[in-house]
Symmetry: C2
Subunit: 236 residues, 2 copies
DNA sequence: TCAAAAGTGTTGATACTACACCCATGG
DNA sequence: CCATGGGTGTAGTATCAACACTTTTGA
């Protein structure tokens, strides 16, 4: 390490793109910035600096748990963003991570912390083209995101769209017991288009080992749907 | 940046996984290490340290061009590896990049630099399971790779296998004018299994805008194949 | 004219979509 | 018994893999 100390080093950080689905729409967790004028936006993803000698995952845990209050959830590395101009305060290279959680879990943290918000996510581009994404405020207007976080958000959506079909990642958005309709809403929110119910049900049931629990949804009007759960041996 | 200078920082570096296909087998470019005892292996991917204020891509260019002599080729970020123990000399977080090139291009660099080699790549795991990969020496025995480079190599192959079907990335392994058979060999090398010719031809021609050039392959015995080229407007 | 590889046509199986339909429940 | 969403059956279509076949060249 003596050899490396000679080089002037960029700072290394992580940013957490925490996502959930509600009302057939993707939402992301954002943290209010005091220094909006300095960092070029009012809102940003929760982040943390990587410390020397500690795993990158330690910074991820710090950003996700302490700053945003998240517990155990699905975490996946997205990409690393290294433009020297991305942070006006200095050269900060950031490893972006995507966190997937049921909406209620993120909502709890938002109500507990007034500096957090859960903003609906909008993408302009169709399919898997790629590009930046927007987060909407309570008034329906796009929020000003700091740094390159609009681009990171777009990359997160692109990653999700690319793997939602074949991977079990969609189950990260629903509680351990869920209706098939809830999973369908997750897929519709991510893909940004409606799906046909019978086709979706069948694909889901033969692609993933799901068990009907026998218990039914409660609280809804009309016929209650059956609750399913994933095979506990399966991982993301 | 004054705020960030307080934190002790890991060193940030890049590693280049340069890949090509020959003899229906994937090959990777490796650099001989003088310090094999220190870094835990005789061979490693070419790398470079990221300098403060310079884009990460600048380090990629340095690692790819100066150390390995590569020119313009397809580059794609793989992932970032941050285990504090991955480099015995100190905490070095590395952003791994995949470089795709025609085999002849890498072979030229290897013959020009005796510290480089182009090693066949072997994976134990089937399909898209994932896991570490091995690079073979001239004697057919696995080479000792430094750091976590066996895991990085495995991740590179996994990425390739995941996107070779729908993405045009396979064309990065062949020259601008190529036979369809050459592209098929690339796909077979990446997937690790034989493909049927008619199905492959049709899928390739449907999915990508390819133009027959009218000129034929030369130098082969038997019937020469037609040379195709990609639509110049298309990008990776 | 023969061997080997280029390139094409056809068929059978599979997967997916779309539509129609039945079921169960609260009011 | 009616409106509404849960859940299933069926048929048409597009996709894909395997096989057989024809074509073209060098020796």
């Amino acid at each position: 390490m003596s050899r490396f100390a000679d080089f002037p080093n960029p700072t290394l950080a992580v940013d957490i793109v925490a996502l959930s689905v509600a009302d057939t729409r993707l939402h992301c967790l954002l943290l209010r910035r005091d220094d909006a004028a300095l960092v070029g936006g009012d809102w940003a993803f929760p982040g943390a600096v990587v410390h020397h000698g500690k795993p990158v995952e330690e910074a991820v845990a710090r950003a996700a748990q302490i700053k945003a209050g998240l517990g155990a959830l699905h975490l996946e590395q997205l990409a690393t963003y290294g433009d020297p101009a991305r942070d006006p305060r200095g050269h900060v290279v950031s490893v972006a991570w995507m966190a997937i959680a049921p909406h209620a879990l993120l909502l709890d943290k938002v109500t507990a912390n007034p500096d957090l918000c859960l903003a609906p996510v909008i993408v302009d581009w169709p399919g898997e083209t790629g590009g930046p994404a927007q987060a909407l405020g309570a008034d329906g207007q796009p929020l000003r995101l700091a740094f390159d976080h609009a681009a990171i958000l777009g990359d997160a959506v692109k990653r999700l769209r690319g793997k939602i079909d074949y991977s079990p990642i969609g189950f990260g958005f629903v509680p351990p017991r869920f209706t098939l309709r809830a999973v369908q809403e997750v897929h519709e929110a991510i893909l940004g288009r409606p799906l046909t119910k019978p086709a979706f049900r069948r694909k889901l049931l033969d692609r993933h080992p799901l068990h009907p629990t026998g218990t039914l949804e409660t609280g809804g009007a009309f016929r209650p749907a059956e609750l399913y759960e994933r095979d506990p041996a399966q991982e993301m």
